[in-house]
Structures are given as structure tokens and as C-alpha cells.
Amino acid sequence: MSDYKVKFEVFEGPLDLLLYLIKKEEVDIYEVNLTQLATEFIRYIEVMRLLDLEIAGEFLVMASTLMYIKSRELLPLDQQVQTEGEDEGEDPRWELIRQLVEYKKFKDAAAQLQTLEARQENIFPRLPAKPEFEAEAPGKPEVSLFDLVNAVTAILKRVTQQPDSRDVFEDKWTVSEKIEVMIKAISERSRLKFSELFAGAMSRTEVVVTFLALLELIRLKQLVAMQNEPFSEIEICRAEPAAPAPAAPSAPEAAATV
């Protein structure tokens, strides 16, 4: 029984069933014999009743409309004229056909949407990876002030742990002296490891003075501190001399890889 019910529900409502019946007759909606249509529709409903199936309210409403139309057809012609004489437009037959035509159009439109839906399922948008621009220099990001500060913390800790650090109490180093030492060192070797700068430091003060000298040189654009990757050893090297033509941006080799 449930099978019948399922089958019945294939119709999306009374209009759907009516369209199905009209299609079966292979006639145009405008030319359909409504009396015959009503008979067939009501026969469907009767079958449902016989099978004791739940019948949607819409179908019952439509059934009564159709019965009304059918009964009017059965009236003698003069009585029909009387009814219709008031106004042609109130003819329930026309109202039903109007509804059917309209519904049919939207049903067709729905079918077209379905085609689009199916088509769209097979269309894949291009979803490129985010464009990346090669780092302008061979991958040597400058480090921030705080990367340096963090690095010096570690060195200070180590110096503090040296047992004899307290012995060297008198500290001769000044920042300017350290600056000169550093400039000399970097002119001999183009590149120094951060830790090397502090390797010989005998006291916390010397570390701090060295660090201040380094900061000063960085600020004065004499040196740059670089880190190949986060948390790797910081390296110090000479700042490149000013590029003579700053109007030559690195755009050409900055192809976006996708």
C-alpha cells in the first residue's frame, strides 16, 4: 500500500497531476476537454480513497473545483448562459486553465534550472594558490631589534655563569671603542656570527657595551643583522652600499608562482 502512496506523491500537487493527465491525452492545455479531465482526476481520487490512502487536502479542493466545472457543463444551455452572462471572467474553467498554463511554465523553468544545476556540478572554478613573490634578496630577512635583544639575553646569561666574571670588575670598554673594534672586524671578514661578537666578553657590562655598539652601527646603516630562518644564528655583515639606481625594482624576477 505504501507503494501506491509513494507513487501518488510523485505528483507535486493537483496541478501536477492535471498536467500529467493532459500530457497523457496529448492535447494542448487550451484545448483540453475539462469535463473529461475532471472525470479522470476524480477517478484518481476515487482510487486513492478505495486504497484508503491519505489524500492531500489540495487534491480534494481541486476535485471539488472540477466537479463544479463538470456540473456546470451538464446544465442546460440556457441556464449556463444565465450564469455566464454576469461575467465571462468568472468562469472557473478559464481560471483553472490560467493556473495550469502558469504552473506549466514554471515547471518548465524548474526543468531548465535543473539542467543548469547538473551542468554546474561539472564546472570547477580555478582555485590558484596565493601568488607568492620571491623574496627580493636571496632569502635573508633582517632581524628585528627584539631578535637581537633576545639573542643578547642568552649571551648575558652565559657570561653571568662564568665563575671569574666578577673578577674583571674594572671595565675599560666604551661603546665607541667597541664600535671601532667591530668595524675593523667586519672589514676583515665580510660576515660575523652574532655569538662571535661576544665570544671574548669578560663581563656583563662588556656584553652590554658590545650590544649597544652593534645597535648603534645597525642604526647608522653600517651593519645589518640577518637571520636565514627564524631562530637560527644571527649573522652580522656590512650594509650594502646604497644602490645607485633605486628605480630598478626587482619586479622582473618576481614572477608569481602559482
Binding site: 491519505e54 487536502g57 490560467r98 502558469e102 524548474a110 535543473q114 556540478e121 570547477f124 580555478r126
Partner: protein, 242 residues
């Protein structure tokens, strides 16, 4: 440097579809950062019209090239998409993901009515379909295909519904004008006579003119309609949607 190729390179690299306004903003932004680059600066203020024309030209060129992809405009935004015939391989590429379920017949019908007649009230939709649409409307709202757009100026001020940009995206439509047979099915904006309003609260819109009856007739026939039950409020219609 041609504008259309700049736009092409942007759409080629963009991570989402782009509207002409967004494209224009990128051109302007690039110009602002161009420093000495006169070429880049020359595209600082491209007119929307010129942009659209360049995009249309570009889309036509890709169409003519008949490669495996096209440039399309969906919901007002431009993007590159693959041609449907390559779907079997692209599905394999993305790993045969499951897609949202297809819409049911009732949902498609309801959606079609809303699409062509928006803004439209629930009562009007039900009048066209001849059945209740509660469950279906719920589905369409949940999937973001339709939304409330206002209230009809009739008794009870019922909600009116319209389609969303998601609707256009779902069906790959550029705009509502691209709906198939739009002219025929689209609502003709006609001021409805008073008599009709009182006769049938909830009816804000008018049937298309070719189907339209004189107002008085409609009103009378409506009031005189046999078996004036309210189909959509009947419980247990079993008809409901989904």
C-alpha cells in the same frame, strides 16, 4: 600593456571571483604603489565601462580559443572555470568530494517561481504551485538560495522573498536577467487594484500580463471560488515538499 591582459592576470591569480569594482580597486591600489612606473599609474582610474568591455572581450577570446577553461561572470563576479566535459578528471583531482544534494522537484519549482516573480509572498507561491511550500521554503532558506527581502503592502504585511547571490552562483548565472525565458515569466510590475487586495490578502504580485484577467473578474472569481479551503494549512497533507 593592455588592460585586458592585466585583468586576465588578476583573475588568473585571484583566490575568489572578482567584481569589476574589486578589479578596479586593485588597479587603483597598484597605481598608488607604483612609484615611478608610468604604465602602472596609467591604470589608476579605469572606467567601469572600460573594465566591463575588456572583460567581455577577454571572455570572448577564451571562448574562441576553445581550450579547457573559460572566463565567466557569475553573480556579477568574474572567474576562470573548467569546461564541464573535463569533470571526470577534475573530480579525480579534488578527490571525489561529495557535493550538496541536488534540489528536489518541489524545491526547483518553488525556486523558479521566486526567481521570476520576486519579491513574492509565500501565499502567492502557493497559489501558483497549488500546494503548501513550508518545508520547501525552509530548505531554500537554509541553503541560502532565497531570503526575506521585505514585506508586501497588503493586509497582514506578509514577508516577501527573493533570490540571493548564492542562487546565481548555484546555477552559474551572471544575473537574474540571464534566467531562461526571463521575459515571459518575469512579473510585470502592475499596480494591483484595491479590490483584489482585500479579496485575497497576501497577493502582492500580479500574474504575467498574458495570463492576466481583468481585475474585477479576478476579484469576483476569487471570492466565488468553490471549496475555499486553505490547502496549505491542512494538516497531514503529506504533500509537503522535500
Amino acid at each position: 600593456m593592455e588592460l585586458k591582459f592585466i585583468l586576465e592576470s588578476l583573475l588568473f591569480s585571484a583566490q575568489k571571483p572578482m567584481s569589476t569594482k574589486e578589479l578596479r580597486d586593485v588597479l587603483t591600489d597598484a597605481a598608488a604603489h607604483a612609484e615611478g612606473d608610468e604604465t602602472v599609474r596609467s591604470f589608476k582610474k579605469v572606467k567601469e565601462d572600460a573594465l566591463t568591455a575588456a572583460l567581455e572581450e577577454l571572455a570572448a577570446a577564451h571562448e574562441a580559443a576553445a581550450r579547457s577553461y573559460r572566463l565567466v561572470c557569475v553573480a556579477g563576479s568574474w572567474q576562470f572555470v573548467s569546461q564541464p566535459e573535463y569533470a571526470p578528471w577534475l573530480k579525480a583531482l579534488v578527490g571525489h568530494k561529495s557535493r550538496p544534494p541536488r534540489l528536489s522537484q518541489p524545491a526547483l519549482e518553488t525556486l523558479a517561481i521566486i526567481a521570476y516573480r520576486q519579491p513574492i509572498t509565500r501565499a502567492e507561491i502557493e497559489q501558483v504551485r497549488g500546494v503548501a511550500v513550508d518545508g520547501v521554503m525552509q530548505t531554500l532558506l537554509e541553503r541560502g538560495l532565497v531570503e526575506q527581502v521585505g514585506r508586501a503592502e497588503v493586509v497582514g504585511r506578509p514577508m516577501t522573498y527573493g533570490t540571493t547571490p548564492v542562487f546565481l552562483e548555484y546555477f552559474g548565472l551572471r544575473a537574474l536577467e540571464d534566467l531562461p525565458a526571463a521575459d515571459e515569466l518575469r512579473r510585470i510590475p502592475v499596480v494591483k487594484p484595491e479590490s483584489l487586495l482585500t479579496a485575497d490578502p497576501g497577493l502582492a504580485t500580479v500574474p504575467p500580463d498574458q495570463l492576466q484577467l481583468p481585475a474585477t473578474e479576478t476579484a469576483e472569481s476569487a471570492s466565488e471560488a468553490p471549496a475555499p479551503a486553505e490547502p496549505n494549512e491542512k494538516p497531514g497533507t503529506g504533500q509537503a515538499s522535500k
